[in-house]
């Protein structure tokens, strides 16, 4: 079979790789229905994370189960399934607490590369969620979005404890930030401020429920949010970037007693204890426990309540994966959908 491999920053190739096999009796192998490029992959693509050797790439997927191991009980061949980028047993104490991305037995599904024609999924029963039936083609992009960006945007809003009526600001207008707008809306936010300076992203943010757009960044962005909130800051701020600048923009734009949910993978983020103390801001982040939200998110997609698949503004055949990276790196695309 064929799949994407990153050889060096900027160098992604689509090449022949071994067909995945059942290794552990809890594994499943799926035939990929759709996969995509993640903003977090760009850290490697741009050489900010080191790329030491050719590495299979991608960690988002939906597909049809081909084969299951002998210990797999609930997942069956032929089912259409969605899973998170972290495999989890869904039974350990951390999973039971809803933090499947801290599963005591977690494995990174992307280790074998999900931008491929077939994928091995460890801990299949705990990791995968099957749809009630084969989904209509039109739902596939939104279901795929649930495997990472929609689940991550949702977690940003949950981690920030968004409540009905809240004023919510979203830092970052990538696919996760846009999905965070959807989440804030679904959780009942009264006002949603998208911080974005890109017209196409602003437009989608508004479609998803943003009531206001702020184009200023950094201290100017903070000042603008305070101006809009009676001088005190937003109730909740969703940080969907991961730089030190964006984190501090988020923390300083939040009112005392408010919350920041941070889901951008932090790169060089340092928080001063004294500043955090006097801010009275609550802070929670982490790799989103997507598995916790999947059943609910799948329902919302299939019932037509949410349509996160619109974040895919470029669709390519999987073999043109390199072009998908280039388009996102150059910000010509919000997010690239790849079809085998």
């Amino acid at each position: 079979m064929r799949g994407a491999v990153i050889h060096a920053p900027g160098d992604v190739r689509f090449e022949e790789r071994p067909h995945p096999k059942i290794i552990n009796p809890t594994d499943a192998v799926i035939r990929t229905a759709a996969t995509c490029v993640c903003g977090s992959d760009l850290w490697d693509y741009r050489g900010i994370n080191p790329v030491d050797q050719p590495t299979p790439f991608g960690h988002e997927y939906v597909g049809v189960v081909e084969e299951v191991g002998s210990d797999v009980k609930t997942i069956k061949p032929g089912q259409f399934v969605i899973g998170s980028f972290f495999a989890s047993d869904n039974t350990c104490p951390n999973c039971r607490n809803g933090y499947q991305t801290s599963c005591l037995h977690r494995e990174f599904v992307g280790a074998d590369g999900c931008q491929a024609e077939y994928i091995r999924i460890p801990l299949a029963d705990g990791t995968l969620v099957a749809t009630p039936e084969q989904p209509a083609e039109e739902h596939i992009p939104s279901l795929l979005a649930c495997s990472d960006v929609m689940g991550t945007g949702w977690y940003a809003a949950v981690a920030a404890e968004v409540r009905p009526g809240d004023t919510v600001a979203v830092v970052g207008d990538g696919a996760v930030g846009l999905c965070a707008v959807i989440a804030a809306k679904e959780l009942g936010a009264g006002r949603i401020i998208a911080m974005s300076r890109h017209e196409t992203r602003q437009k989608l943010a508004r479609e998803y429920g943003a009531t206001d757009i702020v184009t200023e960044r950094g201290e100017e962005g903070v000042a603008r949010i305070k101006e809009m909130t009676g001088g005190i800051g937003a109730d909740r701020v969703l940080e969907c970037v991961g730089t030190n600048e964006s984190m501090h923009q988020a923390l300083r734009a939040t009112r005392p007693g408010g919350n920041v949910g941070f889901v951008g993978v932090p790169h060089g983020v340092a928080i001063d204890g004294e500043e955090l103390f006097y801010s009275h801001v609550g802070l929670r982040g982490g790799p989103a426990p997507v598995r916790q939200f999947l059943p609910d998110l799948i329902d919302r997609v299939l019932s037509g309540r949410i349509d996160p698949g619109k974040v895919f503004d470029l669709t390519l055949p999987l073999e043109r994966v390199a072009e998908g990276y280039r388009a996102m790196d150059e910000r010509r695309a919000i997010k690239t959908l790849l079809l085998p």
Copy 2:
């Protein structure tokens, strides 16, 4: 009148000072019934915070109203009152959100020094809470504790979102840590682990509701907490010290999805964004909005539910304030009560 003044680290004097007057029409002047020495004062006493000039000292107080300014409506001369170390109008948006220590008009009551025979209280209507009647003498230490340490311990538990049945660990066995044990108990914690290596403090922690004592610190303390919690960490950890070591002990002893409430004033605390991200721990701290909790805490004291006054294990006449500092600095006393 006379009051305490810190002249230099280790040099606290009780000396003649001007009798406080109404400066703003929203002020009150109270005759001090009791005051005390705070663990946070020790940062100055030990020279960790600079002492640039002779400075009136102390920020905890209960007393009887002597005089009120012309704009004071609800507080009346003769009332027995308790207030926080930060004056607040209790009407601004931050106050209405329950964060009176971020009041847009806050003033530090301790600026004039509360270890004194009389104290000027700014924003009297917003700041002070009167007891229904003159309290019995036996209740005065506990009411005084509510003005800071009990309110701060309570906030640690609230900021950490302690819920019924939780396993709660408390880092720090000073007066605030001990009051945090009371708070965890009152909020329904199922198991309360006090981290302490001092026998008298362990004893009081147990009396207040601690079910377990851990004497190990740092990484050993973290390992011990994990061992006691099925390998994952405590649901909530209350950080009541303020050093970088204690903060990291707290963060690492908390399970994924758990919370740290931090109320020790941070000194040199630096938090790595990536570590916080992968921990899945929620974090909120700050100067406790004591005013939010005062009516409830006063009820709990007067009804005999809680007895935070036991943290005072040394009582001295106010004029011997210097001795009170020495006793706490040398850890001979948990907390010194001072009576004018």
